[in-house]
């Protein structure tokens, strides 16, 4: 039978075709990885030559004035992301805990579905939402609005990884604790969550890496600021928005600083990603 299907193809030709196609897949992998190395290479090359101490310690200078740095934007990124975590992490972990403990309920199914759908919502749309509910009523751009936008992006990621990590905890552990007379809530918090803690932390850190690199939802929420932001209801500078603004500006000195900012940003994000993978050693994939 096989002879009739492959009448025209000699064995040697079929073998050659197979080897050829397999070589094509290897070539595709190499072509795919070239941009990765090019991007990282240019970042190191262009970024490192533009990076100096002043970049970390000085404020942005007005157009035409040389020098200056992104001190406020670096601090701003940590501030916005930190507040986003304060909002997003408890909600995400709590919701994930609920989903893991009520696996089969209809409500849990609905919530799980919504979390999955939220991962598909473009981040700029989340920015519009934060604008509509916070910036517009308050009448000004604010740190809080930026953090809320990032928290909304973070919540479904944390929820789903928390759920997946908790499901991995063996059932016997829960049963043992309950048999000893430990209340259910205490079992959940001090036995189940504690056992799954490193996995949950991995999910949280990957979510942080993800939101730290977001620009679109911050454009009209956190907005940007040429000075230090001292209050939650003031606009604030962030690395990503600052890099964006400088990159599309026509001034060479700003473009140079954009490369430096991009390098710092990438180092922060990759350090989080690589650090977490290196510590856990398990290739934990963020839910996508």
């Amino acid at each position: 039978m096989a002879g009739t299907v492959y009448k025209e193809s000699s064995h040697a030709f079929r073998k050659f075709k197979s080897d050829f196609m397999m070589a094509v897949t290897v070539a595709a992998t190499i072509v795919t990885l070239i941009p990765l190395f090019l991007v990282l290479g240019y970042l190191v090359f262009k970024g490192a030559t533009s990076l100096n101490w002043a970049f970390f310690t000085h404020m942005p200078t007005p157009v035409g004035e040389k020098g200056g740095g992104m001190a406020n934007a670096i601090v701003g990124t940590f501030e916005v992301v930190g507040i986003a975590c304060l909002i997003g992490v408890p909600i995400g972990i709590g919701a994930g805990l609920f989903l893991a403990e009520h696996r089969l309920g209809r409500f849990a199914d609905t919530v799980r579905f919504c979390a999955d759908v939220m991962m598909g919502v473009p981040s700029i749309v989340v920015g519009i939402f934060a604008y509509a509910v916070l910036v517009h009523p308050m009448g000004r751009f604010s740190t809080l609005a930026g953090s809320v936008a990032l928290a909304i992006i973070m919540i479904p990621l944390v929820t789903r990884t928390t759920e997946e990590m908790i499901i991995l905890v063996p059932h016997e552990l829960r049963e043992a604790a309950l048999a000893l007379g430990v209340p259910q809530w205490k079992t959940s918090l001090s036995v189940i969550v504690r056992t799954a803690l490193s996995g949950i932390a991995t999910g949280v850190i990957l979510a942080i890496a993800r939101i730290a690199g977001e620009t679109a939802p911050l454009l009209f929420t956190a907005f940007g600021n040429r000075f230090w932001s001292t209050s939650l209801v003031q606009p604030i500078a962030t690395l990503t928005v600052q890099v964006y603004t400088y990159a599309i500006s026509p001034f060479p000195d700003w473009q140079r600083q954009a490369w430096a900012g991009a390098l710092v940003l990438t180092v922060i994000v990759l350090a989080l990603e690589l650090g977490v993978r290196w510590v856990t050693r398990a290739p934990a994939k963020a839910a996508r």
Partner: protein
């Protein structure tokens, strides 16, 4: 004696009550946090619909099919941006799908385990790089390179086609499509790799036992088995490409026009929101931009749901066949 039992009983009952109370509080708190996830999604949709209402009321359905985007005269139509989003995503998928399938096959069928893990990690890193960094790189490196080599090559040999005609510029639809392709490859290829890995070994062994070469085995057993998963992965990638904002806004040229040439500047739904939202002056202008966001939200949700159903179908298939 009897008194003692009564005391113990009371004490136990008290403890049980306290414990039940604790459990109830705990359940309520987690339930509330889970409800927030649900409420957020609905609040998102409702807030956008409410704020887009002025534009919807003013222009109605024609908002989606007219191509005037004229803030000076307060006239808005979404067509140029829908077109820009569709074409830039199409370019991205045309490049990303073959490459992603190649990567996924290489990782699941070719590379030994230790190499596959490391290569998979590198491909994942592509997804970790912030999109503003891709945008920066595209403005200063990729765009000019595409203009000088790829676009001039296509223009010279295929210039008779309208899509490859016209002046070559570093910022335009084509550059945006290529950047998008680089950014969605890790998403498509990682889902495809997972899908190929769940193809049951018996399927592969059956093909090999019939005398199939490796490639024939892939075509007969792996690809058909994973087909719905592959389509799901592509739709997931499409969802990413549609919603990607900053990198596109930096290289697409931001011009609300529909041109035949792929090299010409254009704009997408997401890029125009990023560019004009903070500067929008009239209420109708803001509302129209939010209406664009609503279109984007609808597309994102629909594509995501379809993709997840398709990918889940492969997992179920495996479950059925393993019984």
């Amino acid at each position: 004696m009897a008194e003692n039992v009564a005391v113990v009983g009371r004490e136990t009952r008290r403890r049980v009550r306290v414990r039940l109370f604790g459990d109830r509080v705990f359940n309520l708190v987690t339930l509330g946090l889970a409800a927030i996830v649900l409420i957020l999604l609905f609040a998102l949709a409702i807030a956008l619909i409410v704020d887009a209402m002025p534009a919807i009321r003013k222009f109605g359905f024609s908002f989606l099919v007219t191509s005037d985007w004229d803030p000076v005269n307060d006239l808005y139509g979404a067509l140029p941006f829908i077109y820009g989003t569709a074409v830039s995503s199409a370019i991205a998928l045309a490049i990303a799908v073959p490459l992603s399938l190649g990567v996924a096959l290489c990782l699941s069928e070719m590379a030994p385990d230790w190499l596959s893990r490391r290569l998979g990690f590198l491909v994942d890193l592509l997804a970790a790089i912030p999109s503003v960094v891709y945008g920066l790189w595209a403005i200063f490196v990729l765009g000019p390179w595409l203009r000088d080599y790829v676009e001039s090559f296509l223009g010279t040999y295929l210039g008779f086609l309208p899509i490859f005609a016209g002046p070559k510029v570093a910022v335009g639809m084509f550059s945006a499509g290529v950047v998008l392709a680089i950014m969605v490859i890790p998403y498509i290829s990682s889902v495809c790799t997972d899908v190929f890995r769940v193809v049951p070994p018996t399927q592969r062994e059956a093909a090999l036992a019939l005398g199939a070469t490796k490639w024939e085995m892939v075509r007969m057993a792996v690809l058909p088995y994973g087909l719905s998963g592959i389509i799901g992965a592509i739709i997931l990638g499409l969802g990413r490409a549609l919603g990607e904002t900053i990198a596109v806004a930096m290289v697409i040229g931001n011009s609300p026009q529909i041109s035949a040439s792929l090299f010409a500047p254009a704009a997408t739904l997401a890029s125009v929101i990023a560019n004009e939202f903070a500067e929008a002056t009239s209420d109708l202008y803001v509302s129209s931009l939010i209406a664009l966001g609503l279109v984007l939200l609808g597309l994102g949700i629909v594509l995501n749901v379809i993709a997840r159903l398709l990918v889940a179908a492969v997992a179920r298939q495996r479950f059925d066949s393993s019984r």
